[in-house]
Amino acid sequence: MSKPLLAIRDVTKTFGLYQALRGVSLDVFQGKVLCLIGGSGSGKTTLLRCVNQIIQPDSGGIWLEDDLLGRRHEGGKLHRLPEREIARQRLKTGMVFQRFNLFPHLTALGNVMEGPVQVQGRDKASARKDAMELLSRVGLADKAGNYPSQLSGGQQQRVAIARALAMRPKLMLFDEPTSALDPELVGEVLAVMRELARSGMTMMVVTHELGFAREVADSVAFMDSGSIVEYGPPAQILGAPTEKRTRDFLSAVII
């Protein structure tokens, strides 16, 4: 069996007294799409934030390609990596946030070019060309000069996807990318994500869009109170779940 692109092993995370992750383990293989579903507070966001190193797990390990994230294993001890190394590791993942988090003082094009120019040190002309290509890929070439405040929610989220793609990540992380959107704008964002999945991008998607999960995901993980309760292909998890907690969650969501 080939090695996974992302391997999560026994990850725990505690906030104060509250254990948000209680030993989560997962594999995500190259070119596959994993959807994470689960109720509010079940730890989905916390898990994504660990993979993107916005927070560090208390114990366990996360490997992306062959790198252990955030830690160096040496002399029988784990050492925290310096911030520069962590920033370099983060370039391999692209993150799309629930509330877009576009940079409001930069145009759509500026948002997409910011990482390549400022972080990767690419020259402006070629970065601009690539950024324009990405904007047309998400259907927004004509909005390149607009500031985020001049874009609809769906358009902002598509710019945010382009901004993440501009760093040429190996793995894309989505945290409820459509749940801050008006219902009629959800479709355009899901369409971009569907296209991305089809193009072979490896993706880890937290979502309540079960239709999307059923159609696009290669596997679905259902989380509850900090653990993965059930895992499998979408037809099984969404169609014939064996765990009661999964069934309860699905019946609550589908209504």
Binding site: H105, L106, S149, A166
Partner: protein
């Protein structure tokens, strides 16, 4: 019934086309009248008072006064620039996860906000009493009395004091930026300092410019304290003239006129800066 509207009860008069009556604003008229009377009384009092207006006109543009106002503006700009530079550095230190940096910053703010500016100015000016020679050991040194000129003492005293206040304004600005912006900057691989410079500070500027404008106007007037350490700003020069000719009120009016003029020029400049940093926000289109 031909149209399918709601069924209406009759008996209400048709108000279409009935004009609005003009209101007489009695309150406004009486207030305006009262204020005009007070102003007339004031003008009359000053016109008949012991003020020699031709002397005011005569000294308004003499070279000593003009040099004074230029020195005031130069000192305000330089001290404010130093204050903003220190303010940004100290605010970032204050918010740093490193407790040593954070406590140092808090100590600096405590020390320089807690003592009067005029005391700080006098300390800098009299530094020679503490350290007769200053410099970098083995590289360069000089006599403190020669180095601590009124200009340098005023710049250090005003700028460092301003830094303590500005750091709090900057800290408020940085805190006003959404936490999601830090995360988004991190997510595209930016380190703390680059995120600060490229993402956080440009957004914080929008929030800090109005209070900074306030601080700058305050600074223009605070430079007058530098007259106690012989810095030739406008009030110092006006005083020198009236010590010679005893036209105290006339020269104070001259100085007041110039302060007001400089401060009036600042408001439109601040407005331009605000527009510059409002890029991408709704405020811009207003």
């Amino acid at each position: 019934m031909t149209t399918a509207g709601p069924v209406l009860t009759s008996g209400f008069p048709d108000l279409t086309g009935v004009p609005m009556a003009r209101r007489t604003h009695w309150g406004r008229w009486t207030a305006a009248l009262a204020i005009i009377l007070v102003l007339l009384a004031l003008v009359r009092a000053f016109a008949h008072g012991q003020i020699d207006w031709p002397v005011v006109g005569q000294f308004l543009t003499v070279p000593v006064i003009l040099t004074g106002i230029v020195n005031t503006v130069i000192m305000s700009v330089l001290a404010m620039a130093l204050g903003i530079l220190l303010g940004v550095i100290v605010a970032v230190m204050r918010l740093s996860p490193n407790p040593v940096l954070s406590y140092c910053a808090a100590f600096y703010v405590w020390l320089f906000r807690g003592t009067p500016v005029i005391l700080q100015l006098l300390l800098w000016f009299n530094l020679a009493l503490v350290f007769p020679t200053i410099g970098i050991p083995g590289v360069w040194s000089g006599r403190a009395v020669d180095i601590m000129t009124p200009f340098l003492s005023a710049l250090l005293g005003l700028g460092i004091n301003q830094g303590a206040y500005t750091s709090e304004v900057m800290r408020a600005g940085i805190l006003s930026v959404d936490a999601g912006q830090h995360e988004a900057a991190q997510a595209i691989g930016m380190g703390r300092l680059r995120a600060l410079r490229r993402i956080i500070l440009p957004q914080a500027m929008r929030v800090v410019i109005p209070p900074l404008g306030n601080e700058f106007i305050g600074m223009i007037k605070t430079t007058s304290l530098a007259s106690v350490i012989q810095y030739p700003e406008i009030l110092h020069n006006a005083e020198n003239i009236y010590y010679a000719n005893s036209r105290v009120i006339e020269l104070l009016i001259v100085a007041g006129f110039w302060y007001l003029l400089v401060v009036s020029i600042l408001s439109p400049l601040q407005h331009l800066l605000e527009k510059r940093f409002a890029r991408g926000t709704q405020v811009m289109t207003r």
